[in-house]
Symmetry: C2
Subunit: 406 residues, 2 copies
């Protein structure tokens, strides 16, 4: 059994790096707050006897040797960055629970067969720099290093510059840290476990994801003197696109979601018809066929709307990740660990994206979910109980023992 109080107090301790008055955390990827939590995490790993290395994207790998040095380490962890107004569990629970597993093994004097590697992936959230799950994308070579380093935030700062600014552009080549598998604990970020009064989600699938960047170019003119039929209103155009995204997700669902967010109207003024708008849009579904249909449906809707309104709309697909299917050996070990610990559980699909989606493309991978209050995440109100966090960490511990060998 892991030490529930120690795990809980590390969660509260790290929540101070970027902590907000409402009890949330603002710790954007590669920000000063991210540096602070990284420094804390490195020191904590070293204090637990782990050897920390950092790769070219700032991914942090903390290695614990096993009895069999020839075996590839089992990776455990998640991420420590947050949304602009995020919570203190999303990503953090999985990273600190991995550390807690190591501390527990240390306390019990247990050496696993395979080495263990506690990991903090860079920029999982995708909020400051798109796309999400960026560090793990680099690790599995889903995106080339140079392209990732060149991605910029809203202020024009590149990933490479941000890494340098906080001193976390490491020496280790991307992917150099070989892994034999990967296991990630995370809050569900959805309402199902809580609604069904269950403690553990055994994640078997992850949704496919498409992210778009859009730009609408209409024409700015006077809100009072421009007749309705002569307008090229970028906001009215956006409004139709927002509702098309929503309708497509509802109609092609039930297991699909679609969202438009992150709007910027250029040169806006209350009595000027909006002429230029940028926006972000996305679809997610566990079904590859539905993902393709959503994409096709949106492209067609956008073309129709743009033609009728005589505006131009550029819709760039900046990221596409097909649905993920986790490894049966790993999900089996998770289910058995829950069973053994007497914890209620069920198979699940992950609604959110996770670094595990990328890891699953190169090594056997799985995830463990625990409930969060009202299913709320990406919100400062995000909340999970100490008991559920401890239960998840215990499932992680026992799955690790089964997979890495004790």
């Amino acid at each position: 059994q892991i030490n529930s109080d120690r795990l809980w107090s590390t969660i509260l301790e790290t929540a101070q790096f970027g902590g907000t008055p409402k009890g949330g955390v603002r710790r954007l990827a590669l920000s000063e707050e991210d540096r602070q939590v990284r420094d804390w995490f490195r020191a904590a790993c070293e204090a637990a006897g782990l050897a920390v290395s950092i790769d070219q994207l700032g991914n942090m790998f903390a290695l614990r040797p096993g009895k069999d040095a020839g075996k590839a380490p089992l990776g455990i962890g998640s991420h420590l960055d947050t949304q602009p107004t995020g919570g203190k569990f999303d990503g953090i629970l999985g990273t600190l629970a991995a550390l807690e597993v190591v501390r527990t093994l240390n306390d019990a004097g247990i050496e696993t067969e395979a080495p263990l590697c506690v990991i903090n992936w860079t920029n999982e959230e995708g909020s400051r720099f798109a796309p999400a799950m960026m560090g793990s994308a680099g690790h599995v070579a889903d995106l080339p290093l140079a392209e990732i380093l060149a991605r910029t935030d809203a202020e024009g700062v590149s990933v490479g510059e941000a890494l340098d600014a906080i001193g976390y552009r490491g020496e280790a080549p991307l992917g150099a840290q070989k892994l034999g598998g990967f296991l990630e604990l995370h809050i569900e970020q959805g309402p199902i476990l809580e609604a069904e009064n269950l403690t553990i989600g055994v994640v078997e699938h992850g949704q496919g994801i498409i992210w778009y960047d859009g730009r609408i170019t209409g024409f700015e003119s006077h809100a009072g003197s421009t007749p309705m039929h002569l307008r090229k209103d970028a906001l009215a155009t956006l409004s139709e696109i927002v509702l098309a995204v929503e309708t497509l997700a509802v109609e092609l669902g039930p297991n699909a979601v679609g969202t438009v967010a992150d709007i910027a109207i250029a040169r806006q003024s209350r009595n000027v018809i909006p002429g230029e708008i940028t926006f972000a849009a996305e679809f997610r579904t566990p079904d590859a066929g539905i993902l393709a249909a959503l994409d096709k449906g949106l492209q067609a809707a956008v073309a129709r709307i743009a033609e009728r309104r005589k505006v131009s709309v550029a819709l760039d697909t900046i990221w596409r990740k097909e649905p993920t299917h986790f490894d049966p050996a790993i999900t089996g070990a998770v289910a058995q660990a829950a069973q053994k610990l007497g914890l209620s559980h069920r198979p699940m699909v992950s609604g959110a994206g996770h670094d595990s989606f990328h890891l699953a493309t190169i090594v056997p991978t799985g995830m463990i979910f625990v409930p969060c209050k009202d299913g709320v995440s990406h919100n400062e109100l995000e909340s999970a109980t100490q008991a559920d966090c401890a239960a998840g960490a215990n499932v992680l511990l026992h799955a690790v023992l089964a997979l890495a060998g004790d």
Copy 2:
């Protein structure tokens, strides 16, 4: 005849205060650029022998005595502030043409019966501080002084603070400068004169205007893991409101317009469902009954949308101006001046709001329009020809001679 080249060169000269690379002007009300053009204008008026006084809202009155000191002066002028990305004619033409009329009378040694008063009204645009036509609203006591001084911009700076910052909070009590009438030359800001190949618009009516400030409160949550039916999406809500505004204006028109602009999404991130949005909306129509119907229609639509989506929407009416009907004696003088000068003309409704709308509530008032390219205004591309500007200024001159008496 006014001096066309002198008028044109003053327009180009003042366009340098806040001039933009695209040939437009950014001179927000009570900004540093506004101070610069005000200083220029005061000096130019004084050089033309006018006595300049400034009231408690920074409205500038430049007085030219008449033969009959007992007569109330005829006001002529407009405004020198612009949109964030505005043009170099909107308001400016009317103010500088009024100065040009005085210069022409000086050159010709003509003294009118009634005094003349060249006026620059404060914050006509309403972009930095709402509502528009603020200085003239104060002059006619449509809004109380204290309330106007307390209005703030997006940075929280109040009108009073901004007046002090540029040194234009004057001593003259609001409304102390009595006027016998008011006449304003302006670009049309719409497409009609150009389309009909006419030079002069004799403005007989002004549209009624309602301005709203709106706030939508939904709930922020994860874009990937929140099912569609559990969302309280503020942007989808806004989208329905935008389309309702558009549909109402089209259906209750043909002479109505409706616009939503000036959006801010709180705490936005591309994978967070927007939870809180503020926006500005407006309707305009020359018909008081239609204005009331638009207002009622929007209130009903907003209530319906908010209820169905289970979000809350606050819609505050921050300004309402009933339709304006200009004085037949003034519009008659304008039409006669155009006739006498051999300029083609037609009666018109003003689509944009103007300080003249407020003046019309206290003294006989009228307006003269000249064409602008493609009807475009509130855009850096706003353009008018030297010949049309001069034609408008000549109509202003001859209407002034008829109304003030020579």
